[in-house]
Amino acid sequence: MKLHLLPLALFIIMIGFFVCRLSLIERGNMPRDIPSVVLNKPAPGFNLPPLLKTGLKTADFKGKVTLVNFFASWCVDCLAEHKYLTDLASKGAVLAGIDYKDTPANGQAWLAKNGNPYNVIAIDRDGHTGIDFGVYGVPETYVIDKQGIIRYKQTGAVTPEIISDKLLPLIKELNK
């Protein structure tokens, strides 16, 4: 055994690990993402008051494919994804917004300033509905099918790529 080559071998193995991990990040698999356990499970039971007009409750998901988007006026990434969500809404997706841990005044002002892409919009002041969904960092977006089952979860801002590669095909599939 050529022992003096061992450090080199270990170094190469280590580099191998780094390359694997970095290429996963490149493909959108972030180390801080928590594997979601709510996927393919019914959306949690909740009944939230409206931020504007009508509120949102679990029963509302029945019969249509809904995108539930947790956002907040204090959240920078939410502003970043806002235009893409508006875009998505214009393509006919049903968007339900949940203003997470926010005051009604701030949430309403934020929507007035940036536009409202949501069909319904509720407010989760204490964040408990967010916790029931397994939210740990807004923005988070869930796709819920006609039976009220969570089919997809996106942690962090949606991007045009995510919309065209994942969200739109999935909505189309679930609407069949």
């Binding site: 055994m1 022992l3 061992l6 801080r32 928590i34 594997p35 979601s36 356990v37 709510v38 841990k101 204490d126 964040g127 408990h128 916790i131 029931d132 969904f133 397994g134 740990y136 960092g137």
Partner: protein, 162 residues
């Protein structure tokens, strides 16, 4: 007396250093329940600042989770029920002491694997060390040959003297 004061001050300082993120307004009136809440919080991982427990973490979500843990305890949940309620939302990821399953098998077997690996490498080192001793043996033989040659030389010299 000075020494006593020093120790008291030290303990007080340390206490502030380790007094954790749990805010006074979160704490339960019942000290037994509060103690249980603290124990449970120490075993739950904060999903935001991922290497801290929710008891340590200052994240807003940790605050919400601590409150949730306390609400559940007040409703009469057992420690296990409280933990499972969070596992249902965030997965076994939130347990700082995760159960052994497909995703944690490497985590749990890691230390043993590393130990085995270390053992093999160490054995490798000792084997090379043994190689060194065989070289030493060769030297012994050489020494014998040298001594032999010296002896022969001496014998020859003796013969020459005669």
């Amino acid at each position: 007396m000075k020494r006593f004061l020093f120790i008291v001050t030290l303990v007080l300082c340390l206490h502030t250093a380790i007094s954790l993120a749990a805010r006074p307004d979160e704490m339960l009136a019942d000290p037994m329940l509060e103690a249980r809440a603290r124990e449970i919080s120490k075993e739950l991982r904060c999903p935001v600042c991922q290497n801290q427990s929710i008891d340590d973490s200052d994240a807003d979500l940790s605050h919400d989770l601590r409150v949730l843990v306390r609400q559940r305890l007040e409703k009469g949940d057992t420690d296990e029920q409280v933990k499972q309620s969070l596992v249902a939302r965030y997965g076994t990821y939130v347990l700082l002491n995760p159960p052994l399953d497909n995703t944690t098998i490497l985590l749990w077997s890691g230390p043993v694997l590393i130990l085995i690996f270390a053992f093999l490498i160490t054995r490798g080192f000792f084997k090379t060390a043994k190689l060194d001793t065989t070289e030493q043996d060769l030297l012994e033989e050489e020494k014998k040959r040298i001594f032999k040659m010296i002896d022969q030389e001496e014998e020859r010299e003796e013969e020459d003297d005669k």
